[in-house]
């Protein structure tokens, strides 16, 4: 933490090496969050670049009120929202990517793949599709809590919404996911309902 602060203050003074180290530490999480929100590798890479550029520009204003990671998450979510608003994100892109993964997977010869692997690919596809069905706000809250392990309070701070709204969005997201994945009855404990 102390080390992080030192890097931040060096970066604020214009030290590019310090900034690179900060970016290096955060890049995987930022890419993953951008991917979770856009569903597209290409967009996620572009948006990650944009996030770090914005972070560099706003670095003089970073006072440490929020954690460095939370601050970057906020920039990422806002950048993805803007990207979404501009109409650049096409849900179809995500499906295209899923389909290309699937076709590669099938192309290797389904006969030589164990059934378990085929199942895993199918599950992956269905999970991605179910995530696509969520609204951007629901998806943001869900991925931040579930995949980025941010506590509910920190999500509220990051997204600048109330704790109650975070809980409502998360509850709604889980309910929707359960409905969309209802055909996996055994896995979701729906048997006998």
């Amino acid at each position: 933490m102390k080390d992080e602060w030192e890097l931040i203050s060096r970066a604020q003074r214009g030290d590019m090496d310090a900034f690179r180290q900060l970016v290096e530490r955060a890049r995987v999480n930022i890419f993953r969050l951008a991917y979770d929100l856009t569903g597209n590798r290409h967009d996620a890479e572009d948006l990650s670049q944009e996030v770090f550029l914005k972070a560099y520009r706003s670095l003089p204003h970073f006072r440490g009120d929020a954690k460095w990671n939370s601050w970057l998450y906020r920039i990422t979510v806002n950048t993805c929202y803007d990207h979404h608003k501009s109409g650049a994100t096409k849900i179809m892109k995500r499906y295209e990517e899923i389909e290309s993964v699937e076709s590669n997977h099938v192309g290797q010869g389904s006969a030589i793949l164990p059934d378990k692997s085929a199942d895993a690919a199918m599950i992956q596809e269905n999970i991605e599709k179910a995530l696509c069905q969520l609204t951007l706000r629901e998806r943001s809250v869900f991925v931040l809590r579930h995949y980025h392990d941010l506590p509910l309070k920190q999500i509220a701070e990051t997204l600048e919404i109330s704790d109650g709204t975070v809980k409502t969005l998360l509850f709604r997201a889980i309910q929707k996911l359960r409905q969309d994945l209802a055909f996996y009855k055994n896995d979701l404990g729906l048997e006998g309902r």
């Binding site: 690179r20 970016v23 999970i127 995949y147 509910l152 996911l177």
Partner: protein
């Protein structure tokens, strides 16, 4: 804990964010309520299932390229305290402004235009009264003498109501002086109306202004001694000549005249 409270805490419970006390209550509830227990279990299973998702990793080569791009862009930007060159300054992107904002802006401009037009460009009628010029700012150039006379009557009525509705306790020298000043101003204008109201249908109005002139003259010439009988004399004069009643009648007549063309228009339709 009841079922409603259970629902409000379920998300925190799923991610182990409950305080120990509430967790205890929560556990006690699901131990006794089978519906809530099933619901909780299903949501937990959903989350377990979502955890099977494989996370994407950024590609190493792409990342190296990305960093080069980021670095190049940062280096090409001016330092924070230097002025930004004109070509890099904020540019207006009309496409990003929602359509409804244009509507609101247009409405705002129309309202502002009407307000400015009415405030600064409306014509003001100047009425020549004896040697003085008095401006009826509330009247436009098209207003007829009758309309001006009605405005005059309205002002006189307000003055006389002020005189009629006072009692000895509330009447002061300052009030009387002010009423006399207004009365003198109105007297100056009365002469103009007596000359201007020359049409046959304006004769009733002319007589009323003549009667009013006498009352205003009495008021203007009262000696400043509050509570003296002279004020009572003015009041009696107003009563005897039914000035206020006549002004009301004139106002009603004017209102009827104004509404008459509208009615005829409606009938045509």
């Amino acid at each position: 804990m009841n079922c409603k409270q259970f629902v409000s805490k379920i998300v925190e419970a799923l991610y182990a964010e409950l305080t120990p006390e509430i967790k205890q209550e929560f556990d006690a509830h699901i131990a006794t309520c089978s519906n809530c227990r099933t619901r909780y279990k299903q949501m937990q299973e959903t989350l377990n299932f979502m955890s099977r998702r494989k996370r994407k990793e950024p590609d190493k080569t792409t990342w190296d390229d990305s960093w080069t791009v980021i670095q190049r862009k940062i280096e090409s930007e001016p330092p924070q305290n230097e002025p930004i060159p004109a070509e890099k300054r904020f540019k207006w992107h009309p496409a990003r402004v929602p359509a409804w904002a244009y509507g609101i802006a247009a409405m705002f401009l129309v309202v502002a235009g009407i307000f400015i037009g009415r405030t600064f460009w409306s014509a003001k009628t100047t009425v020549q009264v004896g040697g003085n010029r008095s401006t009826f700012s509330e009247l436009s150039a098209e207003d007829s003498v009758t309309t001006q006379a009605l405005v005059y009557l309205g002002k006189s009525k307000n003055l006389l109501l002020g005189v009629m509705n006072v009692n000895d306790e509330s009447y002061s020298v300052i009030t009387l002086i002010k009423q006399q000043q207004i009365s003198r101003r109105l007297l100056q204008q009365a002469g103009y109306f007596k000359n201007a109201l020359d049409k046959p249908d304006q004769q009733q109005l002319k007589r009323l202004i003549h009667d009013l002139e006498i009352i205003l003259m009495q008021l203007a010439n009262i000696e400043i001694k509050p509570g003296v009988a002279a004020v009572e004399m003015v009041k009696r004069g107003v009563d005897q000549k039914s000035i206020l009643f006549k002004i009301n009648v004139e106002e009603i007549r004017s209102a009827v005249r104004e509404s008459a063309p509208d009615k005829s228009e409606n009938n045509k339709l």
